[in-house]
């Protein structure tokens, strides 16, 4: 178990492409951090640099109290779970789990005991003598987990470990992984492009975009206080509504003049207004006209998609709230509005 520290870590691939711009953050001991971002934003690159599978172009990486920039992956005291499980197809489950320990010259009895422990923890006991090809996707995923946990590493690294599973299994494994991490208390870095996984599993989320860290924060912070329009629209399904607005006469006005809240300290010009779909109410007395085009029925709640002026807009309504079709009116909860600079997309 260990704290992880990144100091202006940067990656430039040999072809000159800068996949990760200088990035610093700190992960305290035992924390579960999720790196989330769209495909190609450099999450895997960052994770692979931490694992030692990719050279660090610039910066300092420490795990525990040790700078590990030049240290071999095997000696970094880490374990990694890959997207395609990367199980050794010719070895039994038992050998797959034990292989890393065997290479570390640990005595047979200890290995057997650790394999048994891990297998029990992961419900794999009856599959120990099977080959990976004879297992289901979820079981293979568990074997990959087993291979990681028998090593008692200081740091777990996960690279999209659930993306090859079907939705139901994914939900189940998500909970299992999180519970396991809680129980073992091992510092973990988990890479995913799925914001639901990020929200549900993380102690802290690191949102990345285009090789840059956009925001670091708890799921609550990232969701309710996004640092940029990118984070606002990446996190949440449906994402935060973003409306073009103006500062005028000390008010923030949308839709060509409707005031929604007082403007902060004497600002003028354009601004982007963000509001979560659940912070909007259908309200006949409201002063914002809205046209509902489509209602998505989701059981416990509904999503109302439509037009606010000439901009698309979505509303989240609980099942006992009204769900009108066509023209209606709505009001926003002013406390939950986020304002972003229209040029840079940064939070004001």
């Amino acid at each position: 178990m260990a704290r992880v520290h990144l100091e202006t870590i940067r990656k430039i691939y040999p072809n000159g492409f800068e996949a990760v711009t200088p990035t610093s953050f700190d992960i305290p001991d035992g924390e579960f951090v999720v790196l989330v971002g769209p495909s190609g934003c450099g999450k895997s690159t960052l994770l692979r640099m931490i694992a030692g599978l990719e050279d660090i172009t610039e910066g300092t990486l420490s795990i525990g109290d040790r700078v590990v920039n030049g240290v071999d992956p095997a000696d970094r005291d880490i374990a990694m779970v890959f997207q395609n499980y990367a199980l050794y197809p010719h070895m039994t489950v038992r050998r797959n789990i034990a292989y890393g320990l065997q290479n570390r010259k640990i005595d047979k009895a200890t290995i057997e005991q650790k394999v048994q422990e891990a297998a029990t923890m992961l419900n794999l006991t009856e599959y120990l003598d099977r080959k990976p090809a004879q297992l289901s996707g979820g079981q293979r995923q568990r074997v990959a987990m087993g291979r990681a946990i028998v090593r008692d590493p200081a740091l777990f690294l996960f690279d999209e470990p659930l993306s090859n599973l079907d939705a139901k299994l994914r939900n189940q494994m998500r909970i299992e992984i999180k519970a396991l991490q809680r129980r073992l208390g091992v510092t973990s870095i988990y890479v995913t492009h799925d914001q639901v996984e990020a929200m549900t599993m993380a102690d802290r989320i690191i949102v990345m975009n285009g090789g840059k860290v956009e925001q670091i924060g708890t799921p609550h912070e990232v969701y309710h206080n996004p640092a940029s329009t990118f984070v606002a629209s990446f996190m949440g399904a449906p994402p935060m509504n973003l409306l073009e607005a103006r500062f005028e006469d000390g008010m923030v006005r949308i839709n060509g003049g409707t005031p929604v809240m007082p403007a902060p300290a004497a600002r003028t010009g354009n601004v982007t207004l963000g509001i979560r779909p659940e912070d909007v109410r259908i309200d006949d007395a409201g002063d914002i006209p809205f046209h509902v085009d489509l209602v998505e029925e989701l059981g416990a709640h509904r999503l109302l998609h439509g037009q606010l002026g000439d901009q698309t807009f979505s509303i989240h309504a609980m099942k006992d709230e009204p769900a009108p079709q066509g023209a209606t009116r709505l009001s926003l909860i002013p406390d939950n509005i986020c304002l972003f600079d229209s040029e840079t997309g940064k939070r004001i």
Partner: protein, 298 residues
């Protein structure tokens, strides 16, 4: 429901009355093809069981004789030549050593070369690979004299190592293993790195077992290639106790030119013995091949 079954039966039954010429043609081709392959072997079998005198008088016939065991004993244990050292048994052993030595040597060297080319950041690795590959354009026959000279200067004439080592580097094996290694997922390599497997361990623990099917295929090809070598053993070995089967048969047919009764039975027996091991190897490794292909997904 009953009606539909009925009509469909009719439609199935009707074409049976007319002859399907396509099928007849297919089968004719297949039957002719298998006869083409089988008849020579059947003739050899017949000759092997018949006394040589009868073969000389009547030519190949249809009757199965009783000489099988005699001919077998002669072929395996009776020496031909002067030294009395090249019996069928010794030639069989020499052929096996050559075939297995070839196959194992070529597989080991090909795998290691491919391993270096695919997994290590060598300068000019691609260039080195294509250099190896172009040796395919230079078959043994082209370079046989310089090769002979080198073997002779190294004092390796009439030795197994002289037979095997000069031919053991194989562009074919290197090429096939290279293609195979490139198809092994990168994540597997990385998982092994994190699991603390060094280059040697990774090769032995993971790459070699994964290559099972490729090794089996290479073994078949290279064994048969080594087994069938004729020109090279003829040049490198002059001692009779180093003769291989392929070469020994030639020697017996040379004996036929005397005034004795030609030993058809014995010569054909040797030919049979010479065919058998490659056939067995193919049959044995083929089952392995299929097993490997169905059980492992790399």
């Amino acid at each position: 429901m009953a009606d539909t079954t009925h009509t469909s039966e009719n439609t199935v039954a009707r074409p049976r009355k007319s002859i399907k010429w396509g099928t007849v043609f297919d089968h004719t081709v297949l039957i002719l093809g298998s006869l083409f392959m089988l008849v020579p072997i059947l003739m050899v079998l017949q000759t092997v069981t018949t006394p040589d005198l009868e073969t000389i008088k009547n030519g190949p016939g249809l009757t199965i004789g009783t000489e099988l065991d005699d001919n077998f004993a002669k072929a395996m244990f009776q020496a031909s030549g002067f030294s009395g050292e090249n019996t069928g048994t010794s030639m069989l052993i020499n052929s096996l050593i050559l075939g297995v030595g070839f196959a194992v040597g070529k597989i080991v060297i090909g795998m290691m070369a491919a391993y270096a080319i695919v997994y290590f950041r060598l300068r000019f690795a691609t260039f080195a690979f294509w250099l190896i590959f172009t040796t395919l354009l230079l078959p043994l026959e082209v370079r046989i004299l310089p090769s002979y000279e080198i073997v002779q200067q190294l004092g390796m004439l009439n030795t197994y190592s002289g037979l095997i080592i000069p031919l053991v580097a194989s562009a074919t094996a290197t090429f096939f293993f290279r293609q195979f290694f490139r198809s092994v997922p990168n994540e597997l390599v990385e998982a092994a790195r994190i699991d603390g497997a060094g280059p040697v361990k990774f090769f032995i623990d993971i790459l070699v077992p994964l290559s099972q099917t490729m090794i089996a295929a290479m073994f078949i090809i290279m064994f048969v290639y080594g087994w069938n070598q004729y020109l090279w053993p003829t040049m490198i070995t002059t001692d009779e106790d180093m003769y291989t089967l392929v070469r020994g048969i030639k020697q017996i047919t040379q004996d036929l030119e005397g005034t004795n009764v030609p030993e058809y039975g014995r010569a054909n027996m040797l030919a049979l013995i010479a065919i058998l091991p490659p056939v067995l190897i193919v049959i044995f490794f083929q089952s392995w091949f299929v097993k490997g292909l169905t059980e492992s997904d790399k």
